[in-house]
C-alpha cells in the first residue's frame, strides 16, 4: 500500500540540468514564473514553449512525467478557465445562456489564464523533477540565509525538511508493520465504504502517532547530545559552488525573459 510512495517526484539523472546548483535552479524558476505573467500576446508563449522544450530535451525527462504533474490540478484549471469564460465582461457577445454570457474578452482571458497555469506548473515541476529533495533543501537554506537577520528561520526550515525526509521512509515502514499486526488481529482496512474505511484507519494512526512522538523525543535528546544548539555558529560540510554552467543557465533564462518583454511591443 505504501511502497510506491515517492518523496517528491525526483527523476535521477546526470544531465546538465540535474547538475545545476540548486540555488540557481530555484532562482531561475522564480524568474521564469514572473516572466510568464509578463506575456500579453499568444506569440509570447512561443518563447516560453521553446525554453521549456530546451530544458526537457537537455534533462531527458520523459514527457509523460510532466503531464502527470498536471493531472492533480486539472480541476483547478477547468474551474479557472470556465469562471473566466463566463464572468469576464468586455468584447463582443458571442453567446448567451440565461444570465451567463460568453464574450470574446472572456475567451481571451480564459485562454491566457489557462496557459499561464499550465506553464507555471510545468516550470515548477521541472525543478522538482530534476532536483533531489536533499539538494532542494540545501538550496532553500542558502537562499534564505541572508534573510535570517530579518527573522526568516532559514536554518530551522531546512532542518525540519531534512528530518522529515529522513523519517518518511522510517514511518512508512512502521505503518506497514502496525498494519500487519492489526490485520493479524482481525482489523479490516480494505472493505466497506469510505466512512468505514476511514474509521478502520484509527487503529493504525493512533499507534503510529504515539510512536512518532516517542521518536521525536529521542531524536531531540540525541541531537542535543551531539551538541546541536540551533543554527548559530554552525558550519556546513557541503558548500555549494557556482560553476560556469550555472551562469550559462542564468544567461539563457535572462535572454528568454528579455525576448518576452520585447514581445510585449509586438503588434501580433
Amino acid at each position: 500500500m505504501f511502497r510506491n510512495i515517492t518523496i517528491g517526484q525526483y527523476v535521477p539523472g546526470d544531465s546538465v540540468v540535474h547538475k545545476l546548483d540548486p540555488r540557481i535552479k530555484i532562482i531561475i524558476t522564480f524568474i521564469f514564473i514572473i516572466a510568464i505573467f509578463f506575456i500579453n500576446k499568444l506569440s509570447g508563449y512561443l518563447f516560453a514553449v521553446f525554453y521549456l522544450w530546451l530544458i526537457i530535451a537537455i534533462s531527458k525527462i520523459p514527457f509523460s512525467y510532466i503531464l502527470k504533474g498536471l493531472r492533480p490540478v486539472i480541476v483547478i484549471l477547468l474551474l479557472t478557465v470556465s469562471l473566466n469564460i463566463f464572468f469576464t465582461p468586455g468584447g463582443t457577445i458571442l453567446y448567451t445562456v440565461g444570465p451567463l454570457r460568453i464574450t470574446t474578452g472572456g475567451l481571451r482571458l480564459a485562454l491566457f489564464m489557462g496557459l499561464r497555469l499550465i506553464f507555471l506548473i510545468i516550470g515548477t515541476s521541472l525543478l522538482t523533477l530534476t532536483t533531489s529533495p536533499i539538494s532542494l533543501t540545501d538550496g532553500i537554506e542558502h537562499i534564505l540565509k541572508p534573510f535570517s537577520s530579518i527573522g526568516v528561520p532559514a536554518h530551522e526550515l531546512a532542518m525540519m525538511m531534512t528530518i522529515a525526509l529522513r523519517f518518511i521512509p522510517t514511518l512508512i515502514e512502521e505503518a506497514e508493520k502496525i498494519m500487519k499486526a492489526q490485520m493479524a488481529r482481525g482489523a479490516d482496512f480494505e472493505s466497506g465504504n469510505i466512512v468505514k474505511r476511514a474509521k478502520g484507519l484509527v487503529p493504525l494512526l493512533v499507534p503510529l502517532f504515539i510512536s512518532a512522538f516517542r521518536r521525536a523525543d529521542e531524536l531531540a535528546i540525541a541531537m542535543e547530545s551531539r551538541c546541536y544548539k540551533g543554527g548559530q555558529n554552525r558550519t556546513r560540510m557541503k558548500q555549494l559552488k557556482t560553476q560556469p554552467r550555472d551562469y550559462a543557465a542564468l544567461a539563457v533564462t535572462l535572454i528568454i525573459v528579455m525576448l518576452i518583454v520585447w514581445n510585449r511591443s509586438w503588434t501580433w
Binding site: P133, I134, T162, I163, L165, R166, P169, T170, E173, R215, E218, L219, I221, A222, M223, E224, S225, R226, C227, Y228, K229, N233, R234, T235, R236, M237, K238, Q239
Partner: protein, 277 residues
C-alpha cells in the same frame, strides 16, 4: 593514572510530583580511567541508563558531582565541551540519525561544533572508515541494516573526536550479526584509537573482555572489578536477576556438583584449556 569521568556521591531522582520520591541513583562514587574498556551491567530499572545520561550532562545530579575531564557537569559554561568529550550513543539507531544521507549525518556533530568544511570532510572520512562504513557514505539510512545504522551512529560521535564514548545498550535492538558488528567496532575503537569506552548492556558476553565491569542494582554499584572478579559471584548476580556467561554458568554448576573447577572461567577457550590441561 588520569581519570576521564569522576562521580562523587552522585545521587539522582526524577522530578515527579508524586509523594513517593524515589532515588534512581544512590551515592555513586566511580572513577573511570582513560583508555579503558568499561562495562556497566544491570537489569532494567537498575539506573544504568540514567547514569549514562549523567556522563554528558543530559541529566544533572540531584546531589553530588560529576566531573568530565575535570569539568563539573553542573557548570553550564562547559556544557558543549563536556558533550564533545563524552559522546553518547543510544539504543535505537533509527532515532539518533538526523540526516537523510549517511555522510551528512556523520557531519552533523562537527557542523554543530562550527568546524571548517574541509576539516569536517576529513573527520567524516576518518570516522566512517573507523567503523567500516565508508563505502556506504552516499546511502540513505533506511537502506542499511540495524547493525550498519548503529555503526553510522557511532561514526557520528567519533567525528566529534571525543575522548570517551558511552554506549547505552547499543545492541539491544539488533540481531546477532548486527550485535557482533557493533561490538567488534567498539573494541577496535578502544584498542586502535585509544578511545575510552563505557558500554552499558545486559548481555554479559559483551563485557567478558572488558578491563573492568561494574554491576548496578537498584541505583547502587553492587560489584566493581575485572570480569573474572565479577563473574565469580554467580550467586550474587543471579540474586539480582542477572545471568552470567554460559560457560561460567556451566563451571558454576559443575562446581556445585563437586567437580574441582575454577569459578572464574569466562570463555569457551578457557574452559577447553582447563578441561584438556
Amino acid at each position: 593514572m588520569e581519570h576521564i569521568i569522576i562521580t562523587q556521591h552522585l545521587s539522582f531522582e526524577y522530578n515527579t510530583e508524586e509523594q513517593t520520591r524515589q532515588l534512581v541513583l544512590k551515592d555513586i562514587n566511580l572513577r573511570f580511567e582513560k583508555g579503558q574498556f568499561i562495562g556497566i551491567i544491570g537489569h532494567n530499572g537498575s539506573g544504568k541508563s540514567t547514569l549514562a545520561k549523567q556522563f554528558n550532562a543530559l541529566l544533572l545530579p540531584t546531589d553530588g558531582k560529576v566531573y568530565v575531564k575535570g569539568m563539573d557537569t553542573k557548570d553550564t559554561s562547559h556544557l558543549w565541551d563536556i558533550r564533545q568529550t563524552a559522546g553518547l550513543v543510544f539504543q535505537n539507531p533509527d532515532n539518533q540519525i538526523v540526516a537523510a544521507i549517511v555522510e551528512e549525518d556523520v557531519a552533523f556533530g562537527p557542523e554543530n561544533l562550527g568546524i571548517p568544511p574541509d576539516e569536517i570532510r576529513e573527520r567524516v572520512e576518518y570516522a566512517l572508515k573507523a567503523v567500516g562504513m565508508w563505502e556506504y557514505k552516499d546511502y540513505p539510512p533506511h537502506m542499511l541494516s540495524g547493525g550498519q545504522k548503529q555503526r553510522v551512529a557511532i561514526a557520528g560521535i567519533i567525528a566529534m573526536k571525543p575522548e570517551c564514548i558511552i554506549l547505552d545498550e547499543p545492541t539491544a535492538m539488533l540481531d546477532p550479526i548486527g550485535r557482533k558488528e557493533v561490538i567488534s567496532t567498539i573494541k577496535k575503537l578502544n584498542k586502535e584509537e585509544g578511545i575510552t569506552v563505557i558500554l552499558i548492556t545486559h548481555f554479559m558476553e559483551e563485557v567478558v573482555e572488558a578491563d573492568r565491569v561494574i554491576v548496578m542494582d537498584d541505583g547502587k554499584v553492587v560489584l566493581d572489578g575485572t570480569p573474572k572478579e565479577v563473574f565469580k559471584e554467580v550467586g550474587l548476580l543471579k540474586n539480582i536477576g542477572l545471568s552470567v556467561p554460559q560457560v561460567t554458568e556451566l563451571a558454576y554448576q559443575l562446581k556445585n556438583e563437586g567437580f574441582d573447577i575454577p569459578s572464574d572461567i569466562l570463555t569457551v577457550k578457557e574452559m577447553v584449556d582447563f578441561i584438556c590441561r
